[in-house]
Symmetry: C2
Subunit: 386 residues, 2 copies
Amino acid sequence: MAVLRMGIIGMGNMGSDHAKKLIRGIVPEVELTAVSEMDETRLEASKAYLPESVGLFASAESLMDSGLCDAVLIATPHYDHPRLAMLAFDKGLHVLCEKPAGVYTKQVREMNEKAQDSGVVFGMMFNQRTNPIYRKMHELVHSGELGAVKRVNWIITDWYRTQAYYDSGSWRATWAGEGGGVLINQCPHNIDLLQWICGMPAQVRAFCHEGKWHHIEVEDDVTAYMEFPNGATGVFITTTGDLPGTNRFEITLEMGKLVCENNTLTLHKLSQNEREYCFTSKDGFAKPEVDVSAVPAEGDNSQHMGVIASFAKAVLNGEPLIAGGEEGIRSLELSNAMHLSSWLGETVELPIDEELYLQELNKRIAGSNRKETEAVLFDTEGSFGS
Amino acid sequence: MAVLRMGIIGMGNMGSDHAKKLIRGIVPEVELTAVSEMDETRLEASKAYLPESVGLFASAESLMDSGLCDAVLIATPHYDHPRLAMLAFDKGLHVLCEKPAGVYTKQVREMNEKAQDSGVVFGMMFNQRTNPIYRKMHELVHSGELGAVKRVNWIITDWYRTQAYYDSGSWRATWAGEGGGVLINQCPHNIDLLQWICGMPAQVRAFCHEGKWHHIEVEDDVTAYMEFPNGATGVFITTTGDLPGTNRFEITLEMGKLVCENNTLTLHKLSQNEREYCFTSKDGFAKPEVDVSAVPAEGDNSQHMGVIASFAKAVLNGEPLIAGGEEGIRSLELSNAMHLSSWLGETVELPIDEELYLQELNKRIAGSNRKETEAVLFDTEGSFGS
C-alpha cells in the first residue's frame, strides 16, 4: 500500500474543509476516495467540487462497505463518533476521529477496547498538537529541567461564536445533539493540550453557565479550578462570548514560568530552584536572578493535514501517531469532570463516576430541545484558534 | 493649622519607612512629631535616625495623650488597627490607617460608626489607588463607554516572600497575630482595587491553601472564583510562593477588553457592542473590528506619600480623601468572603454572615501557634508590588 485510500464520513464544516485540502494533494500519502453525508443538499454541494473518482454515499455504512477505503475520517456530529468508529473497527478499517472522541467516557472506553481488539490504527484529530509552541511547552515541562509544575492558568476565551453559528445546525449546542457546549465542541483541543502538557488533575470544581451569551441550552461560559496530584492548582477559563478573547496559557514551575500568548512562548528561568531559595535566603523580600527569553518554537504548524499525514504514515509504515485513540478519553474525562462538577455544584475527583455522569447527561438530553433550523455551511478558514 | 502634626504608631517595616520619608520633607503638609513602638529595640533603632524634635513613646496611648499630634498613622499589626483607631477617635485625633482596616468586618463596621460620631477625618492607606494605571481603569470602566463588565481575571502572584520573611516576626502569618495570610497582609490593595474598579461580587467560591509554600499556618495560595450581581464572573489568583510572579489584570466588557500588565494598560476596543453583534451578524465566525491601543496613564504614582498628602489636605482644607475609612470595610468583606468560602468548602454570598466568619476565625485563633522568633526589620524598598 503506497497511498492510503481514505473516506470522509460527514461533510459538514470540518469534513468538507478536509476534503478540499486532500483533493489538492496536500497530503501525498492520502488519496480521498469517498465521502458520505446523510444530508442530501450537502452531498450535492460536495459533488460540485470533488473529482468524479471520489465515491459519494448517503450513509457511512455504504461508504465503509464500498471497498473504496482502507481508512475513514469521522467528521460527523460528536454523538456518532463512537458508533461509527466501532462500525469501522468491525469492518477492519483504520479510523481517524475528529475531536471529541465521544460525549461520555463510558462509551469511549468501549471504543478503545474495540480498536485494540481489531488491530487497526485508531488516531485522534488533535491537530493543535502539531503546533510547535505547544510541542515546545510539552518538551520543556516533561524534560524536568524546570522542576515540578506549581500552577497552571489558561485563559482561552478566543472561541467567539455568534448566534448565527448556533442557529446553523439543529444539533448544535443541544444536549441531545452535541452533549455539551464550548467544552465539548470548541475546547477538546485545549483540554487535550492541558492534560498532555500538565497531566490530569486529581480534582475539579467548575462553574459552567448555560446559554449565558447565546440562546442555547448548553454551556457557553466556563471557569474551572483544578488541583493536580502533586498539589499544583490551575484554572481553565473559556467562553464563546468574549470579544476580543484571550489565549494565554501560563505554567509556573519550581524553576520559573512559561507563558504562551500571541503565538509567542516566553520562558522566565530562575537561577535557582524557588523551593530551595525560599528556605535558604536570609532576606525576606529577595528573589533569585531571572532570565527572560523568547523560546524558539520551530517547525511547521501542519494542523489537520499534519495529523492526517502522520495517521497515513502510521498505517503505511508503522510510524507513531500524533495522538492515539486512547488520548481521546483523557481530554473527554476532564471535560466530563467539568460538566459534572458544575451540575452537582461540588468538587469532583478524577476518575469521575462515569455512571453518574451519564445519568446526569441523560436527564439533560431528556429535556433537550432540538432546534428547528436549516443547515448552513460556513467558511471556517482561520476559525480554529491557535 | 498650616501643617498637620502627625504621629506614627508602630515602627515596623512600614512605619519606619513612612517616618524616614516624612522627615525628608516629602510631604510638606505633614510634620512628623512623634512615633510610638512597644518593642524597645525598634524604638531605640528609630532614635538613631529621627530628629530630636520627634517624641518617642513606648505606647500608642502615651503618644495620643502627648499633645504632640493632631493625627495618627496606624502601622501596627492588623489586629490592633480597629482598637487603636477607636482610641484615637475618642481623643479627637484624625486617623490614617494602614491596610487592612482590621481583620473582620464586624469590628471594622464599629470602627466606622465611631469615626462618624467623632467627626474626625478617617482615611485608609490604599496607596495603590494613586497608581495612574488603576485610576485610568477605574475611569474607563465607570464611564460606561465600554459597556457592562463581563469577566475579570486578575492573576496577582507577584507577592513573593521567603521563609525568612515569615520568620521575621512572631505575629507574622499566624491566625492569632494577623488573622490570615496573603489575603490579609499582601492583597488588601488588590482586593480594594478589584472592588473599586469592578464593584463587589454577589458570591465567591475560594480555594485557600494554608502553609502550602512556607512553614506557616495561614494561607499562602488562593484561587477565588467570583460572580457579580450583573452575572459577570471572575477569578482572583494570588500567592506568596510563585517566582517570577505575574500581575495581569484583565477586564472584558461589552465593548472590548482592558489588560493591565507590566505597567502598561492596553485597550482592545470593538467597533460595535458584542451583545448587539452576536445577535445581528449573519456569519457564525465573524467578528467586528478591534482597535488595540496603549492607554496613556499620566500622573505621578505618589503611593503612600500621596495618600498621606491627601489625608493632610483633607484635614487641613477639607479636600477629598483618596480612600475614606468606609472603603476599608468593602475590601475586607471580600477578603473575609474568600476565607469563609474556603473554610466552609462552599460558595458564600455577600454580604457574608459576619458572626459565622468570626466564629470560624476564632476557632483558628484558638489553635494558633505564635512563633518563637526574633523581630527583624527588612529594607522594604520596591517590595510592595505595583
